[in-house]
């Protein structure tokens, strides 16, 4: 009984169907996200992995089915309440022109603000904490537009962290970063998970990085779920063939110890 409560997930999709025009992007999809883990959604281009994340994030309307957050339908909760429980980082967001880093990170506090309480000491503290955890205190007074790609992505993560939620959804946070910065970012996500006990869901492209950092993988193919589980369970030669039409050997990652995909 206790186990059942402990393993109860905070984010679930029940039979969701999403479509653009006639084509179903996701069809009758059900899924739950394990709590306190880093979950990575993998799959070939246009398999619906970003759509799935956006459906979880209430950014895409569902044709049928529902998404529940902490046991309640996400559409039946106030958007502001949802924002206090779940932070979302969309793919390549645009920042307001001329904004400073501290100001942008501060926007993450919006779900806690109201007309009479526009900024509190708590907000200031959350922003400082987020800047510290992401290691960008030195950039706080710089203009966002003047930063490098890797720094910008840290700022966005800091904004999501300032939102002070137990759940974070990130859509391709490593796109357009070089390998060093990709690894830095994934290390940062791992730290967020460990230090804040956050549940993190990210869409990633790189299978080997996903295998290294994820606790839980969701493998998709053309709008359907192919396999979920630990990297060892999901990353197999048969699954790589099925999902990506890729002939590959799976060997043991000499550093991380997990599976490593070597295309033939």
């Amino acid at each position: 009984m206790l186990d059942a409560i402990a393993s109860k997930t905070s984010l679930e999709a029940h039979d969701i169907t999403l479509s653009y025009g006639e084509n179903a992007v996701l069809d009758q999809f059900s899924l739950s996200i394990p709590r306190g883990e880093l979950t990575v959604i993998l799959g070939p281009n246009a398999c619906g992995k970003s759509s799935l994340l956006r459906a979880f994030a209430r950014l895409l309307p569902l044709k049928s089915g529902s998404v529940s957050l902490n046991g309640k339908n996400i559409r039946k909760q106030r958007s502001k309440d949802v924002a206090q429980q779940m932070a979302v980082l969309p793919q390549m967001p645009q920042a307001p022109e001329g904004i400073l880093v501290r100001e942008l990170v501060g926007r993450g506090r919006l779900p806690y603000q109201s007309i009479l309480r526009q900024w509190s000491l708590e907000d200031a503290r959350a922003v400082d904490d987020a800047l510290e955890l992401t290691g960008i205190q030195d950039l706080a007074e710089r203009e966002f537009a003047a930063l490098s790609g890797g720094q910008r992505q840290r700022v966005w993560i800091a904004m999501a962290l300032a939102q002070d939620t137990k759940l974070m959804l990130l859509d391709e946070p490593t796109t357009f970063l070089d390998l060093t910065h990709q690894i830095e970012l994934l290390e940062l996500l791992r730290r967020c998970k460990q230090e804040r006990g956050a549940t993190i869901v990210a869409v990633l492209h790189d299978i080997n990085l996903a295998a290294r950092y994820a606790d839980h993988l969701i493998l998709m193919r053309s709008g359907a779920l192919l396999k979920t589980g630990t990297p060892e369970q999901v990353i197999t030669e048969a699954n790589m063939k099925a999902a990506f039409s890729l002939n590959a050997h799976i060997i043991k990652d000499p550093v991380g110890g997990g599976p490593l995909v070597v295309p033939c």
């Binding site: 994030a57 209430r58 950014l59 106030r78 958007s79 502001k80 309440d81 949802v82 924002a83 206090q84 779940m86 932070a87 979302v88 980082l89 969309p90 967001p93 645009q94 920042a95 307001p96 022109e97 001329g98 904004i99 400073l100 501290r102 100001e103 942008l104 926007r107 993450g108 919006l110 779900p111 603000q113 007309i115 009479l116 309480r117 526009q118 900024w119 509190s120 000491l121 907000d123 200031a124 706080a140 007074e141 939102q163």
Partner: protein, 346 residues
């Protein structure tokens, strides 16, 4: 280097606000400049008063002539100029935040031209000042709706909106000319001046309207600033942060059009005032937000200076106020466009 911030709050955290020292400094300085210029405005003119003379007039100890000059001529014009400037500039800041672009101000987007056509129609059909404001707001909203509808294609396309705004603006200026040709000659010459933007014949009713609107809208806009700033974010980010985008946008469009339309109903479509306040405030405050306080003061200052020049005609023969706001605004727009590395029209 570090942006110092104070948190102002009441016991129990009922109220809690952030005050940036830089904003406070800039706004206080702008306020002082406007106040000094207001004194100049009240004292200098064809009837020279001097500070002492002004004081005597204000305390009702001067002769009747000085009191008429101060209370019936200069003070109403001063207050109208300040309020109209503030209203137009705040309206500009609202739309610039909403559309995330400094070019998206109601004068450039044709909303002011719509308000002017509405006001003219009301004069033509004998509505008088009672219906003037209502029809100006209706005209402004109609122009806004038309521009938005024309530039909508699975969402708002900004470049298209600016071009459509310019087109609708031109069409509305033509419409205004047509309406003018139907007016009798005396009304038409008065209306012609008003169409360029003029504070020369502001009635007491119009003055009180401008003051009332500023008293209502300035605090409203100041409180709403937070959401305007938030609306500058990406749609997806803003939605994720729990904002109700549709409702907030609609509320702000109505607020912005109302402020612009009232400004236009009082002083005509003064060019560039709405455009200039927000971006200049942004630059001075070194922040992303189009600060309402600083924008309002900058707008007030520009209209005040323009009207001072118009009233005292040092150089020209009684040119309307709008000519001078255009003299100040147009070079700023050109400079701004040249400076913008990635032009929204490119």
């Amino acid at each position: 280097m570090s942006a110092s911030v104070w948190v102002l709050r009441s016991a129990g955290n009922m109220f809690s606000f952030r005050v940036r020292q830089r904003s406070l400094f800039v706004i206080a300085t702008l306020g002082a400049i406007v106040a000094c210029f207001a004194l100049l405005f009240l004292t200098v003119g064809s009837y020279q008063l001097g500070l002492h003379g002004l004081w005597k007039a204000l305390t009702l100890k001067a002769d009747i002539y000085a009191q008429v000059v101060v209370f019936d001529v200069r003070l109403p014009r001063l207050l109208s100029a300040i309020c109209v400037g503030a209203l137009l500039a705040m309206s500009g800041a609202v739309f610039q935040s909403l559309f995330r672009n400094p070019l998206a101000s109601p004068d450039i987007l044709g909303f002011n031209a719509g308000a002017a056509s509405g006001a003219l129609a009301s004069i033509l059909f004998g509505g008088g000042t009672t219906y003037l404001v209502g029809s100006a707001i209706a005209g402004g909203l109609a122009a806004a709706a038309l521009v938005l509808w024309l530039s909508w294609q699975n969402g708002l396309i900004l470049n298209r909106m600016i071009l459509m705004g310019l087109c609708v603006g031109f069409a509305l200026v033509a419409l205004s000319d047509l309406l003018m040709s139907k007016l009798d000659i005396e009304l038409a010459s008065e209306a012609a001046k008003w169409l360029i933007g003029s504070l020369a014949s502001v009635s007491p009713a119009q003055m009180w309207l401008a003051i009332g609107a500023t008293v209502v809208f300035f605090p409203a806009a100041w409180f709403l600033q937070m959401w305007l700033d938030a609306l500058q974010l990406d749609d997806d980010v803003a939605t994720s942060l729990g904002l109700q985008l549709k409702a907030l946008r609609l509320a702000n469009v109505i607020l912005g059009v109302s402020m612009a339309a009232i400004g236009v109903a009082v002083a005509g479509p003064l060019p560039f005032v709405a455009f200039i306040g927000g971006p200049l405030a942004q630059r001075l405050l070194r922040t992303a937000s189009y600060s309402m306080g600083a924008s309002a003061l900058l707008g007030a200052f520009i209209v005040l200076v323009s009207d001072f020049l118009s009233r005292n005609d040092y150089l020209f023969l009684h040119l309307p106020t709008g000519v001078f706001t255009a003299f100040i605004g147009a070079p700023y727009l050109i400079w701004h466009l040249k400076k913008q590395s990635r032009g929204p029209l490119s």
